[in-house]
Symmetry: D2
Subunit: 390 residues, 4 copies
Amino acid sequence: MAGTPSISKSWQARLQASGDAATAALVASLDVDVALWKYDIVGSIAHAQMLGERGILLKEEFAAIKAGLFAVADDLQAGRLAMPVELEDIHMVIEKALIERTGDAGKKLHTGRSRNDQVATDLRLWARDATDDLSDLIRALQGAFVALAAENAKLVVPAYTHLQRAQPILAAHALLAYVEMLQRDRDRLADARGRINVCPLGSGAVAGTSLPLARERTAELLGFADITRNSIDATSDRDFLAELLFTCSLLAVHLSRWAEDWILYSTTEFGMLELADAYCTSSSMMPQKKNADTLELIRAKSARAIADLVGMLTLLKGLPLAYNRDLQDDKRFAFATVDAMKQALAVAAGLVASTTFRSERIAADIDKGFLDATSLAEYLVSKNVPFPVH
Amino acid sequence: MAGTPSISKSWQARLQASGDAATAALVASLDVDVALWKYDIVGSIAHAQMLGERGILLKEEFAAIKAGLFAVADDLQAGRLAMPVELEDIHMVIEKALIERTGDAGKKLHTGRSRNDQVATDLRLWARDATDDLSDLIRALQGAFVALAAENAKLVVPAYTHLQRAQPILAAHALLAYVEMLQRDRDRLADARGRINVCPLGSGAVAGTSLPLARERTAELLGFADITRNSIDATSDRDFLAELLFTCSLLAVHLSRWAEDWILYSTTEFGMLELADAYCTSSSMMPQKKNADTLELIRAKSARAIADLVGMLTLLKGLPLAYNRDLQDDKRFAFATVDAMKQALAVAAGLVASTTFRSERIAADIDKGFLDATSLAEYLVSKNVPFPVH
Amino acid sequence: MAGTPSISKSWQARLQASGDAATAALVASLDVDVALWKYDIVGSIAHAQMLGERGILLKEEFAAIKAGLFAVADDLQAGRLAMPVELEDIHMVIEKALIERTGDAGKKLHTGRSRNDQVATDLRLWARDATDDLSDLIRALQGAFVALAAENAKLVVPAYTHLQRAQPILAAHALLAYVEMLQRDRDRLADARGRINVCPLGSGAVAGTSLPLARERTAELLGFADITRNSIDATSDRDFLAELLFTCSLLAVHLSRWAEDWILYSTTEFGMLELADAYCTSSSMMPQKKNADTLELIRAKSARAIADLVGMLTLLKGLPLAYNRDLQDDKRFAFATVDAMKQALAVAAGLVASTTFRSERIAADIDKGFLDATSLAEYLVSKNVPFPVH
Amino acid sequence: MAGTPSISKSWQARLQASGDAATAALVASLDVDVALWKYDIVGSIAHAQMLGERGILLKEEFAAIKAGLFAVADDLQAGRLAMPVELEDIHMVIEKALIERTGDAGKKLHTGRSRNDQVATDLRLWARDATDDLSDLIRALQGAFVALAAENAKLVVPAYTHLQRAQPILAAHALLAYVEMLQRDRDRLADARGRINVCPLGSGAVAGTSLPLARERTAELLGFADITRNSIDATSDRDFLAELLFTCSLLAVHLSRWAEDWILYSTTEFGMLELADAYCTSSSMMPQKKNADTLELIRAKSARAIADLVGMLTLLKGLPLAYNRDLQDDKRFAFATVDAMKQALAVAAGLVASTTFRSERIAADIDKGFLDATSLAEYLVSKNVPFPVH
């Protein structure tokens, strides 16, 4: 058994008998998990380095593995590596390429590691980056709102409740409401990051390993703040993806609320905002129209995020301990939403930065609807007139 | 304006100014809607033919358009057509290629048609095929269950409630329970098909057209059973996709229930089923194991389907009349689930066909748990002993 | 065993030992399934009549049971029956009350029936009524829209796409778009009703019964069109509730789209609709406002329906055959949404009937935005000028 | 206006004209928000005290209000307060009762407060308690798992992956996996609590108030750690409820995974666990069975929680700023899930505490399936034999 590369024992071999293309497609996740390749290589190098430091690998074995993985990374970066569906996932693609380059050394990379803790580690590295990227993009969007508020420091607009004009407020007051929402999203991302940033390597397939690994060392090499404590939990835990998806869902809801507002404010009827042409489209059938398509597409991402959150939670519902293959589909939910949110945030920041208020029309309309009734009522209260208000 | 191809007036042109890659990606759906290309070409040919029959297009214009669309189809089939993201969607790709081949004739294809009714038509043609494909695949799976029941006509197995052994039953009785569930899925697909198979062409962007189209004729050419009655509704109606996704969700739930059963029956502890190797995998770390990975992946598709159903409904929630760009994302939900269900059904049929019952062990275990208590109780009842049962 | 009422063998007895209030609350569904009482009594009478006709019950036993059930019904109608949580569900409440009134005869009611097929029958009877009630309420709402369209037969309003003014249309055209959506809801309800209206009685707990029941007769007495064919499926099938919830979800989405439109049209800015005071509220803090609260609450019901649909599907996901206690929670999802939809529909019909268009303002605003550009473009087309349109 | 109690200007009055029972039911939330009464009274006392300290209320007015609210609380506690649906919500019930007891003083309670910031405050006080209660209940359940692990310190059981026996592990290892999951739930609750515990009082209906409130003082009196910063956001922010529901959803998923495991382990086939009778039920039709009903009902709560999370997010999707009446339904989602989770946790702790392992059968079965292949493989690796493992 020892000399046989694991890939020849895998699914792939069994499938040759059945020749079942549908099965091959069902079990493969390569179309999605290719996005993990950098994390897989980084994680493998750290694991091999620790094995080398512990004497489980020889120095020259580690050197060969490291060089081999760098070469594989170059090939992946350049798009030179074949990715037949039979290899199922990016981990198998990389392992096969490594063994082709390094022989027996490459075969030893999986010493003390299982696919289960390997995949969990890759996912956590990916998710950690995702929280950082999202947090930066949110910060940029917050900046755009703050800048727009500063540019319109004295502009008075109606505040709405029930979509009815309620009271006159500063435009900045409304714009900063979005900044508050987004700040909570960043805070939630930071909290989620803390639970993501824990290293499951060493958990094996389910019950750990009897080899004398140095788990803290691998974690340190990968920048993890801690190691997981229970191998059964660690190999099947996808809470961190669900939490990331929830955080994205609320973020998406915030963006959808803002998009809804600005779609309304851009109508002929409200007439409060002028969006830059680059974020709108028109129809040659109706050339007078200027449609806020990007805002509508951003609003739509709330459906994406909520859907993927539901998918992830439903996937986990009722799964027995520990790893079950159902978990393979976790990435389809997590990657789709994170990609969509990154896209939406990047567009949103540009859109906010290029939007102008139609100050003259706003000023002309501001008195419609007796907006200062509240102020009058409060004045009466200050004179100690009983005045219960709802 | 007349001589200007529409694509030069589009988003694409605006984007050149902004050079915003994120926006280009957000507004594009080409990665997904490329799957519609056949439907788009068929729909366009039927529309052009009707225009020709009504004298709105000249005979030679129709001939040029038809020939041009066939040439474009050949190129698409062969993968020869460039698909830059700037063209946004497959409709633009095809339109541009057609105009390059036919000039002014191609420009006239959109006479009396808007992107809104065109896309709605393509989606309905796609969804009609989806229901037919799914129905056929379900029928094949039903056949596999019936065949397995016939092969094990006399096998007695435990029936379970609450996962506790309840009464001895024929294995066929349990297998045919799945056939019943699947039959309801086929019935629902048939009902859904009736609501899908209605032609929205002629609805324009929202309010129809003043041109003398022959809507029934186009519908007839495309095999639609009827035409839609209200253009405002027709251009923004995606009920048929939601209904298809719901039908897939219940189908997926049925498959997940079956998968759960068979995963259990394949355990060492239950020991009732032997799955074919082609549908299982093992681990080199634990070579004695034979994991029912395909069943787990099939079970996981219920999360996919439910997620996409939620996505579609959430997308539609609260959208004002009529078309809003949010609807562009409808395909992401619909296509992912239909593809997943096709895959799951194809694998399921093969898996059922290759599974065997472990009759000897089943027989050896059948007396565990006093399974015939009910029969005894009912015997007492037949003797007129009062015996309330729950 | 024969003389012992089943209720003394139940959970209740076990709980006396544990005295665990939380457990009692968890296992009880009486707060919800009390709504089934009429269906439970009707179902029991039909079952007893069949048993009597088949000679499984003596004539006088059937008479006693029937009279007893009528007496229990009177008590339930009058609110005279105690409903301690220890009895868990309405079926136990009714059974206990019947046995108190009829003794041994009452104990025989459950001959050839299990709680599993009894509950499935009650649910189907309830769901059948729900489809009928909903269909009637939808029809009334359709009538209100048609009447409003007739009252405003010549009113021209803007059609919107992307919430931008697109083309002038008749108000009736827009109002009838909702009628189309609602008609599809009614069609779906009719299809769902066909799958609901099938009788599971005789399926026992899971594997039927050895008693010579006349299943078609019971079905006939209860107005069912058919009987279920597989007892394992029939006792655990909740597809019909999921389908009802989906139908309600799309209905709720339609109502939310309409509510969104009319909330917008009622703003100061759009100024197109005047809602009756009875459907609005104002704030004493801002007395000038007139908020469309009922429309907002109707819009909110889409969240209710989608949530309950997700709940039902998630409940079923991965459940093994056959009945599992998880199914007890099915009613919490189904009843909440059906009640909410009935409420929303009833309010909607009254609201539509009492709404007026603000014709003068609409007319004054109709020219804003060059709404007739399309007509001009189409005129050019009719002159054979190439004019591709999107 | 000053002397008129606000309730006479409300919906209630309008409804008298319409007599529309459906509308009354739609707009009312009293059936649900009655659970907020303690928080409403506490919040009002703090608000009144601050008003008194600032001189906005006279000392005797504050004294009258405080005494009146205590009296109302006594009546509510004793169930003496009538709650007609016309009063719509618990806030109106309490306000009316207060004014009846205190006249003009009571009418002044709402000085500087709107229903919008009042309700947001009540919800946050409720949610803060909910996180504390849930965290305590989780801790108790963790304790039960730890105690069971300690009782079975040397018991060896199979670890499963893909529901196939993988390796022998200590039972404690598996039990502590659940403790890890639950600890993450507690951590998430703690993070959520931080975002809940912020006081929105002073935000008014949307734009704050011109009265010289001391917002930090009210917050301090109510134990809030901070005040909200933007009134438009604060009056329509329900993120904290969505976050609480997500936290409950993951908790529910953890409980469902555990319940699934233990349902399996309690089967005749697995035979590893003996549940206490108090947590099981049997069927008189099949008296030999012992069904794990409570575990099934606990598993079912994951559907409840996920559904309510979806409901909350869907409710918020696309809502414009600021308060919209849709938000009234937030409580239906939040309360149902928190109640269900409390119930499930309480039952779970008792169930775990009363469960025993069937050690003899487990020991007899432990060798089935060659569980120590991994250990052998790892031994080979320690001899430096290349051995890639998955």
